[in-house]
């Protein structure tokens, strides 16, 4: 794909906006449609787009595999950590009311972190699966 100048330029133009849209979906999920899952998928799709245009090694340099593996676990840990934080502050597990003085603000804060955890895990897993598939070489037909 090294010679397709139009594709490369368009991709470079589009990718920032795709990432921005993912952030919008993530943080505007409280008010409009969207949320952590969708935002994570959009982030992963953006990086996959980048990998398709610029090649897998370049994408691996931008988003290394160790980062992805950390993200996969970190998202679940953030989500579970919100639950533990609720426990430590005197509520039940995954009880958001205790996260702030005002119960409603606590809810908003809890939902924010939970959605962040979902987005991190989803984008990490999607990208990791893509890397694993795309990184394998094709088997010989005669095998």
């Amino acid at each position: 794909m090294k010679h397709y100048l139009v594709l490369r330029v368009i991709a470079k133009l589009l990718i920032p906006f795709m990432l921005l849209f993912a952030l919008y979906v993530q943080f505007h999920g409280d008010y409009g449609p969207g949320g952590g899952f969708q935002a994570g998928v959009i982030v992963a799709a953006t990086i996959i787009f980048y990998a398709v245009i610029f090649g897998l090694p370049t994408a691996r340099r931008v988003v290394p595999e160790t980062v992805l593996e950390t993200m996969m676990a970190a998202g679940v840990l953030i989500y579970a950590g919100v639950g533990v934080a609720g426990l430590l502050l005197g509520g039940n597990y995954l009880d958001y009311f205790v996260l702030d003085h005002d119960p409603v603000h606590g809810q908003e804060r809890g939902i924010f972190w939970v959605e962040a955890g979902v987005a991190i895990t989803v984008s990490g897993v999607m990208l990791k699966i893509f890397y694993m598939f795309a990184g394998r070489r094709r088997r010989d037909p005669g095998e």
């Binding site: 008010y31 449609p33 998928v41 955890g117 989803v122 699966i129 893509f130 694993m132």
Partner: protein, 171 residues
């Protein structure tokens, strides 16, 4: 959508099947959008049409694009499919009518979600409130499922790659 499904069934080239199922996902997203389920439509468009198409194409690249062979005895699977399909259609007769306000699903917890979600959580989008707050345990489970899927792929594919790397070395 029916046309796309028939095309998928009759098509022998797996590449065309993958592209058609992407088109099917987009149509499905349009239907969900028409049903005012924008969150689900968004997920369907990005996951069904986007990511899974890419992943299936990557899988096709690994294993070739032609179906191995025609299925020889279509009789028993056909009978099974017809019986199961008939049972499912029979089951739908027991469901309440579409958009029936007296249906059990609209009388149990939905009034509380719709009426009190804004006051209790301060989040205007009820879908997000239900997903992240009222049903927080379920979403935690879903996130764990996604994580587990990733770990499973990692465990399966990474070991294979290592085996081809040190070819001939005893394991």
């Amino acid at each position: 959508m029916a046309v796309v499904v028939i095309a998928i069934v009759t098509q022998r080239n797996l590449f065309a099947v993958v592209v058609l199922s992407g088109a099917y996902s987009f149509l499905m997203a349009t239907v969900l959008f028409a049903l005012d389920a924008i969150d689900v439509a968004m997920t369907e468009a990005s996951v069904g049409a986007g990511i899974s198409t890419v992943l299936l194409l990557a899988a096709l690249h690994l294993c070739g694009a032609d179906e191995a062979k025609r299925f020889q005895h279509p009789g028993p699977p056909l009978v099974t499919a017809v019986i199961i399909g008939g049972l499912l259609v029979y089951g739908t007769f027991g469901l309440p009518a579409f958009s029936d306000p007296e249906a059990p699903i609209h009388r149990h917890v939905v009034p509380r979600y719709v009426n009190d979600a804004m006051r209790e959580t301060g989040v205007p989008n009820v879908v997000t409130a239900v997903l992240a707050s009222y049903r927080g345990y379920d979403t935690l489970g879903e996130t764990t499922v996604v994580f587990t899927a990733g770990v499973g792929v990692l465990a399966l594919l990474r070991r294979r790659r290592k085996r081809t790397d040190d070819k001939g070395a005893p394991r």
